[in-house]
């Protein structure tokens, strides 16, 4: 009995310490991973059924023999029978850094269980998925969570979420070697099979497009930010342990990998995901669609001033600044008797960074009296003094 008091206090503090900000979406969770089993163990501990918890943790260890956190909890459940425990990881000889890492992992996993992603809201960033983008990945570095959303006729539908580790020094990567995870809108650029990798990367790796166009404009550098698996000696790594990569358990990586499309799947990394109700999300999406449509129509109108009003004074692309860009556009427009601009396959993602930034990618069919072409274009729109203006434009 006495032992129970101790461990229950420790776990209850973890479980209920943070008020739940998000409404639960238990039904929507598809957790084929260790988290479901671990959650079950937490539940039994909270109910004071340490025997059942111990049986369950044994089951979990049987399935995931290298899950270090499970071994830690098992140690605690056994020690709780000898004397009361006041904390998770009641092991005097534990290496401090490792113990802190496992405690942080326990907290992150428990928090994810207590506060599953809300069913009635969506990450603000997923404004519009292209039809061929079957899935989108959203990562929350503070919660150590990766969310998979499916493109359900343009509306993001929650599929699953997973525990992830990220950069030792947190998020907002700026420099090579700063051991931070970037924050922004990226996509999967390649798939590296495990045969081509050292075992450190586990079941595989998926490089993402850091640094993106906006990162480069901001002078951010570094490279080799990947989603990847876990080495064989451990099931998972502490929440903050990578050099900037996003690390999943191998089983989770395998599950996520089935949904990834090279060159297509967006990977949006946030420090703290913002959620919108479907109504708010729909109205933001409508506003941006209208904004893009005005840009398209103003281009067709050949009224250069109206067209240029969509561009920021800080516009920069391909070595051009606003002035040289404006001059060029005026010259080109003088030779046009007509312009037709068609845009389709639009995707729109809001950047999770500190600035109000929108990344828009689309296929553009440009026709005019003297020139026609097709291209995939990417624009970065930024809100300046309340108005959205293009700060970068280039091939996507």
């Amino acid at each position: 009995m006495s032992a129970r008091v101790g461990i229950c206090v420790a776990v209850a503090a973890m479980a209920f310490g943070a008020p739940s900000a998000l409404s639960p979406a238990r039904g929507a969770r598809i957790d084929a991973t260790a988290d479901a089993l671990l959650a079950n163990v937490y539940d039994e501990i909270a109910k004071g059924r340490l025997d059942v918890a111990l049986q369950n943790i044994d089951g979990l260890i049987h399935v995931r023999p290298n899950f270090r956190l499970a071994h830690l909890i098992k140690g605690d459940l056994l020690m709780a029978r000898v004397h009361p425990l006041s904390t998770v990881g009641a092991f005097a000889a534990a290496p401090k850094e490792q113990l802190e890492g496992l405690r942080a992992e326990a907290l992150a996993r428990l928090r994810a269980y207590r506060e599953p992603p809300p069913v009635d809201r969506v990450p603000r960033y997923l404004l519009q998925l292209r039809e061929d983008q079957k899935f989108a990945i959203v990562i929350d570095t503070r919660r150590s969570r990766l969310y998979v959303y499916q493109n359900d006729n343009g509306r993001p539908r929650f599929v699953a979420d997973y525990y992830v580790s990220s950069g030792k020094n947190g998020a907002l990567k700026a420099r090579e070697g700063d051991e931070k995870t970037p924050v922004g809108v990226y996509h999967i650029t390649a798939s590296l099979p495990r045969e081509k990798l050292s075992e450190f990367y586990g079941d595989g790796a998926f490089p993402i497009s850091y640094p993106n166009e906006w990162d480069r404009i901001q002078g951010r550098n570094g490279h080799g930010i990947w989603l990847h698996g876990t080495p064989p000696d451990t099931y998972s790594r502490p929440p903050r342990s990578s050099n900037g990569c996003v690390v999943l358990a191998n089983a989770d990586l395998d599950a996520v990998a089935r949904d990834l499309q090279v060159g297509l799947t967006p990977v949006i990394i946030s420090e703290d995901v913002e959620w919108l109700s479907f109504d708010d999300w729909a109205s933001e999406r409508r506003a941006f669609r209208d904004q893009l449509e005005r840009w398209r129509a103003d281009w067709e109108s050949r009224d250069t001033d109206r067209y240029l009003s969509h561009y920021s004074r800080r516009f920069a692309a391909n070595g051009q600044n606003y002035e040289s860009w404006a001059r060029h556009k005026r010259e080109v427009n003088e030779g046009k008797r007509w312009i037709k601009v068609g845009i389709e396959n639009v995707s729109m993602f809001r950047d999770p960074g500190k600035e109000d930034l929108l990344v828009v990618t689309f296929d553009q069919e440009y026709r005019s009296n003297n020139l026609s072409n097709m291209m995939r274009k990417r624009q970065y729109w930024k809100r300046e003094d309340g108005d959205w203006r293009i700060v970068y434009e280039g091939p996507g």
């Binding site: 032992a3 270090r68 071994h71 140690g75 056994l78 029978r81 004397h83 092991f91 000889a93």
Partner: protein
Amino acid sequence: MSRLDRPVARFRALLLALALAAAWARADELQDIDKLVRQGQHEQALERVNRYLAQKPRDAQGRFLKGLILAEENKVSEAIEVFKKLSQDYPQLPEPYNNLAVLYAAQGQYEKAREELEASIRTHPSYATAYENLGDVYTKLASDSYDKAFQLDSSNSGAKTKLSLIHELISSTNRLPRPATSPSSPTAEPSPQSLATASERADTEAKQPSRPAKAETAKTDAAVQPRSAPDQSKDDVLRTLADWANTWSKQDSSGYLAFYAKDFRTPNGETRADWEAARTRRISAPKRIEVIVRSPTVKFMGDNNAVVTFRQLYRSDHLKANAAKTLVMIRSDGRWLIQEERTGS
């Protein structure tokens, strides 16, 4: 755990226990065999116990003794066979489970040891040796888990935890005739009635010169617990605990009862009056009582509530028990009072 460094003491206790066991063994033959064991003549003892068992193949005492001889001889797997069969034939006896556990632990099979000890305690909920052994096994298993959690190649992970064999079929005296059915129901506290005969024999210090009766024998070793900043409340709780044990040791039943809060939860839900009457009887009946508090830890659940956990060593002229104990205490008018009392871990 400190128990690890007491194997010698335990061995001596074991010999004494064997000596005492001999005094009441039903068969003279077994008594003689036991003597041989004590003289270290294991081979001869084994021969004779085998001959004895040829006559009485199902005799629990004889088989138990054989298991012990094999264990002493370090014939672990043979000893395991003996105790395993014994526990199958007499599933109501806690001792064979305990000894099986000790042997499994000696082989490093701690999960199996745990199962046997849990079976032993299910059979006999207040068996102190099995409890202590189980505590050691839990500690060992926990330390293995921690090693895995931290990927430690712990240098002592190969070290065996030394557990205590039980050397007598204590519980058999009144249990053997019964068929191997229902396990005894768990009791909240070792009850003198069920343990009295057993502990008389188990009390290895019974032969020592008698201690001054009713002296201030209650001690707590709280002083050795590291204490950081002055912590008045913790000191108060520990002092109350020591006073409680002392008052109990002095067999001052009204003083003892005064340590219990008005809303004290009686262990079996009986009325306060019934409980007080029972306690008074138990406290005044023995010729002497000694209560020692070991390794107390205090946890505060707010300013006026504390949970105190410790090992309680209880010894009277007819009972000896060592149990994990928890007191839930409440501060009322500046005094710490017991609100709840629990035995076991």
